[in-house]
């Protein structure tokens, strides 16, 4: 074991290389660039021996990953914002073709207006593609989650692509320490990927051919089952990793000081880490509020949200907006509660366009919700 102090991007690259994907195909985009550059450095130093394909666009990056994965290879890529959106068609393809590609997405604003800072509209807008989606809050969590992602994606009960999200700059360009296990620990944890089927010239098959409604229905049903299987497996995989590495960042959610709480704050990504300080401060001031940091939004942790709703009223912070409605997490939390709990859910949209969200902002939002002064969901920090 060694301690590595480095940026979220470079720690993600370290994890990706230690997972030994046979193929990496990527195209650079700020603020993901240093992630793929780091992998290129591993290639240059001879420490990464897989195939690194420099492609001409993100659409090609995902297409190359799809091809490689279909041929039975473990594959990895990384992107951000407009790059992720350019992949959109291929994201559906990878998921429907049941290819366990692993990808890091550095959450960046979608333009125009042109902006390279953080919000989560890029990945939130890809929720329906069939990809499993994690959101990290520290560099250690990025390392561990990239390793988990391969384990989960390739699990025979899942076989779906996995997206590991890290917030632009706040995580991608911030140096923090991460404990890096020895290579043999990762090797033992991630067994060799053996696909159930693959493109093989010695054993020709077809895939992705025309199918009628009845069979297509089955394809979708199987994807749904796989996502629901993932929901059960994610906690198990996280606990297995904890035994090996000592690190645990939560199951589908990470609970922080929820005992006896009458309100629970739900937040994601870097705001999820900052929220811990807000909860500390609010509890010091006598407020009965805890935190449930949402780590996974696909599969959505419906049962966990219902359980929270039976304990407390919920305050939701979204760093995204589904324009014409509200923040996506807010919508989904309410949908989970429907008919299951009388808990009140209120919330805020905060930090769009990279606007800083401090623990004091989070305290202010929570207090406003707890005082009953919020109807549904509000945009926070728009006073100026």
């Amino acid at each position: 074991m060694t301690i590595m102090i480095d940026t979220g991007n470079r720690i993600a690259a370290k994890a990706a290389v230690m997972a030994k994907p046979e193929v990496v195909a990527a195209y650079p985009i700020t603020p993901q660039t240093t992630l793929v550059e780091a992998i290129a450095e591993y290639v240059a130093r001879g420490e990464y021996k897989g195939e690194y394909i420099c492609v001409e666009s993100e659409h090609s990056a995902m297409s190359a990953c799809i091809g490689a994965s279909a041929a039975g290879s473990r594959t990895f890529t990384a992107t951000s914002s407009q790059g992720l959106l350019l992949m959109h068609e291929m994201l559906h393809w990878a998921a429907l073709a049941r290819l366990p590609v692993v990808m890091c997405n550095v959450n960046r604003v979608v333009g125009p207006g042109w902006n390279i800072w953080v919000d989560e509209n890029d990945s939130i807008s890809q929720r329906d593609t069939g990809w499993i989606q994690f959101y990290c809050s520290s560099n250690q969590e990025i390392f561990d989650t990239v390793i988990h992602a391969f384990k989960l994606a390739e699990h025979e009960k899942v076989v779906l692509p996995v997206m590991v999200n890290l917030n632009a700059f706040i995580l991608s360009h911030t140096s923090m320490p991460a404990e890096i296990p020895d290579q043999n620990v990762v090797d033992n944890y991630l067994e060799k990927y053996i696909p159930k089927w693959k493109l093989d010239i010695d054993n020709p098959t077809t895939f992705g051919n025309i199918i009628g409604p009845a069979h297509y229905y089955r394809v979708r049903r199987a994807m749904q089952d796989a996502q629901l299987n993932a929901k059960k497996l994610i906690p198990q995989i996280a606990k297995e990793w904890m035994k090996l590495s000592g690190y645990f960042h939560g199951d589908l959610l990470e609970y922080y000081k929820c005992d006896g709480a009458e309100y629970i704050l739900l937040s994601m990504g870097a705001i999820g880490a900052e929220s811990k300080i807000a909860i500390d401060e609010l509890q010091k001031a006598g407020q009965k509020i805890g935190l449930a940091r949402v780590r996974v939004i696909r599969p959505f942790p419906v049962e966990d949200i219902i359980k929270l709703g039976k304990q407390a009223d919920l305050v939701v912070i979204d760093r995204n907006i589904s324009v014409g409605l509200e923040g996506a997490l807010f919508t989904e939390v309410k949908a989970a509660l429907y008919g299951q709990s009388d808990a009140k859910a209120t919330g805020f949209i905060a930090g769009l366009g990279g606007k800083d969200v401090t623990y004091k902002d989070i305290e202010t939002m929570c207090m406003k919700s707890m005082k009953g002064k919020v109807k549904e969901q509000e945009l926070y920090g728009m006073e100026e």
């Binding site: 301690i3 590595m4 102090i5 240093t34 520290s138 700059f169 360009h173 140096s175």
Partner: protein, 212 residues
């Protein structure tokens, strides 16, 4: 964009029996110009502090693009515990000014805590600064030290590593030894550049003047 490709070499074991007992959070803001290495300095300081047993450390740039010569900021946090803060630093405990001409155009004292400390690369003495009546001020002529050891980029003296030698004079959470260790890690295999930087930090440590 910000690069810190060198950080790959900063794999190390934590020192046993470290010197640090305090768990309080220290927030540091570096002011410099694009290209002077403020981000590198923040990264190296965080790495050194980690080696000294501060379990929580962070270093980050002012998020976004930067241009050579334009005023830039970089930040470091040092804590005895894991750091959950992800927001920017608004009220630094320590301000480090790599280029004193910045002070004509940037209010480097903005938000500094009342008991805050200001470390400046300058030929002046701490009491030459009006604000030394209110703040702890430390000064060091890091530019001359960089020139002495020919620590140059594009012919310009680079003060980001030399000035780190002054930090243990104003902050007891990080040792000169650890700063020198991480500098050696950063320039491993780069001939004598690492050793020249190490000597520069020693000079800076010895030559730092304080008003407290």
């Amino acid at each position: 964009m910000v690069q810190n490709s060198y950080m790959e070499h900063l794999h190390f074991e934590l020192r046993e029996g470290n010197i640090v007992s305090s768990k309080t959070l220290v927030e540091i803001c570096f002011h410099g110009r694009g290209g002077q290495g403020a981000v590198t300095a923040a990264n190296l300081l965080a790495a050194a502090a980690l080696q000294d047993g501060n379990k929580g450390v962070q270093a980050f740039p002012l998020f976004g693009a930067e241009r050579r010569g334009a005023p830039v900021r970089a930040f470091a946090r040092i804590s005895g515990d894991e750091i959950h803060l992800r927001s920017e630093i608004y009220n630094p405990d320590i301000v480090i000014v790599l280029d004193e001409s910045i002070m004509d155009i940037v209010d480097v004292l903005k938000g500094v805590k009342d008991e805050g400390k200001i470390l400046i690369n300058t030929r002046k003495k701490p009491n030459d600064f009006e604000f030394s009546k209110k703040y702890y001020v430390a000064t060091v002529d890091a530019t001359s030290i960089a020139l002495k050891y020919t620590i140059l980029v594009g012919g310009m003296p680079v003060v980001n590593t030399p000035i780190l030698g002054s930090v243990p004079k104003i902050l007891d959470r990080v040792t000169l030894q650890s700063i020198q260790n991480v500098i050696r890690c950063k320039w491993v295999g780069k001939k004598d550049l690492g050793e020249r930087n190490v000597k520069a930090t020693q000079d800076a440590f010895d030559q730092t003047e304080v008003n407290f």
